[in-house]
């Protein structure tokens, strides 16, 4: 996950100690995904094991500095040069919820969608307010934060559009008499993989 590469990219600027790395990560991502210091040390341990960082000096205050290695620098360049690939089957709580709900008897799926859309729009309103209350960026950490908040705004918008689309899909399939609940299968599955399981990643 990108925490590892992010920390490495920060270390590429110069040696850091744990708390310092945490502060640098927070500052550059607008504290949107706060890390605890335990996660930082765990990540540093693994980076050291993989030869991407190594122990450096200990300063007068007893802070243990870590520095990047040549292999680490190569990894940073690699990360920045390649796309982030979203796995097809990332579990999406909302998609799972709607998929299950649509197969159940006695569920007002239109209501489920409505409740969700209100919540999604509320999120979008709050994000928009936060963004609008912020002046144009004057430093690169503010610019970084603007990119992050825009990403959250566009994700919420996509969710709202998907919900609208689901609502239409649902009413069209209802009109066609399709939206019947799925009863339990009495043909009890054998152990092991179901024959028709879609090969979705872990």
């Amino acid at each position: 996950m990108s925490v590892r590469q992010s920390l490495l990219a920060i270390l590429n600027q110069g040696p850091c100690y744990g708390y310092q790395l945490r502060a640098e990560f927070d500052r550059r991502t607008g504290s949107t995904w706060p890390l605890n210091v335990g996660q930082i040390y765990n990540t540093l341990d693994r980076l050291e094991r993989d030869g991407l960082v190594q122990k450096a000096d200990i300063d007068a205050d007893g802070q243990n500095y870590v520095e990047i290695t040549e292999a680490g620098r190569a990894e940073v360049a690699d990360w920045l040069g390649s796309p982030v690939v979203r796995t097809m089957a990332t579990r999406d709580e909302l998609a799972i919820k709607l998929a299950i709900a649509v197969t159940l008897p006695g569920v007002d799926i239109a209501r489920v969608i409505q409740v969700q859309r209100s919540a999604t729009m509320r999120t979008l309103q709050e994000l928009t307010r936060t963004k609008n209350a912020t002046a144009d960026p004057e430093s690169s950490d503010q610019l970084a934060w603007l990119l992050v908040i825009d990403s959250l705004i566009f994700a919420a918008e996509a969710e709202a559009r998907w919900l609208d689309h689901s609502e239409s899909t649902l009413s069209r399939s209802r009109a066609a008499g399709l939206a019947a609940p799925l009863p339990l299968n009495t043909d009890v599955p054998k152990r092991g993989r179901p024959a028709r399981a879609v090969q979705a990643g872990a």
């Binding site: 949107t32 950490d141 919420a156």
Partner: protein
């Protein structure tokens, strides 16, 4: 909130087009109010009744049943003349396609509602200039619509909607014909007019634009099915850079 803060109120408003078998119910028992300083977004699929809601709210067509109250005036109680006056003095419309008059300059377009209300054009130009200032187009006052970009034309339309202190803005897909950044600028202007004490309804199908509103209502088949309003304290983001 005092009664005078409520700029617009729809009480059980229904609207049918046509009669008998072929009648179409465009609005069915809609209750909605808009106060000073409040921007309400209306979302909903095409055909859900959004434009009808605006034309009824703006007194352009009387509802089949229910009551529309603008700044305390019951529209059903007004004569045609009083209604026309109220519309000119209190309401401003903004449409997707800007609706500016091509043969008039930006300044003349903005002055027009005041002139229709009996102002001399000399006298009308003063508040019209102020309104153009609000949308940051003072330097385009003498331009004709054909010399303005889409975003600038829509800003002229917003100036025309608010000129002379009119306080209720009814906007039907005002960003529909604009690119994302330009649309955002137009919204910023609309939002700042509302923050300065106007009230508005913003019809849009763009969730990102609706999110600029204080409240969002969803229409389906002429009914309000849902409302959303943000909590007062943002719980989403733990910190902002200083």
């Amino acid at each position: 909130m005092t009664a005078s803060d409520v700029l617009l109120q729809l009480d059980g408003v229904s609207m049918q087009y046509g009669h008998g078998e072929t009648a179409i119910t465009a609005l069915a028992g809609v209750d909605l109010s808009v106060s000073r300083g409040e921007l309400v977004a209306v979302m909903g699929a095409s055909g859900s009744g959004k434009s009808t809601l605006l034309t009824v709210a703006g007194g352009l067509t009387p509802p089949t049943s229910g009551e529309v109250i603008v700044e305390g005036h019951w529209l059903s109680q007004l004569s045609a003349r009083e209604l026309a006056t109220l519309r000119r003095r209190s309401l401003g419309f903004v449409f997707q396609d800007f609706n500016l008059i091509p043969s008039l300059t930006a300044l003349e377009n903005v002055s027009l509602p005041l002139e229709l209300d009996g102002w001399s054009s000399k006298k009308a130009h003063h508040p019209a200039r102020d309104a153009l200032g609000i949308v940051e187009l003072t330097d385009r006052a003498q331009h004709f619509p054909s010399d303005l970009s889409g975003g600038q034309q829509q800003r002229v339309a917003i100036a025309r909607a608010v000129v002379g202190g009119r306080s209720l803005i009814l906007a039907d897909e005002p960003t529909g014909a604009l690119d994302s950044m330009t649309g955002e600028l137009v919204l910023r202007m609309l939002r700042s007019r509302v923050d300065a004490g106007a009230g508005g309804i913003l019809v849009t199908h763009d969730a990102r634009h609706a999110a600029w509103a204080d409240r969002i209502v969803f229409l389906r088949d002429g009914r309000i099915v849902d409302e959303s309003q943000p909590s007062t304290v943002s719980s989403l983001l733990s910190g902002l850079p200083a």
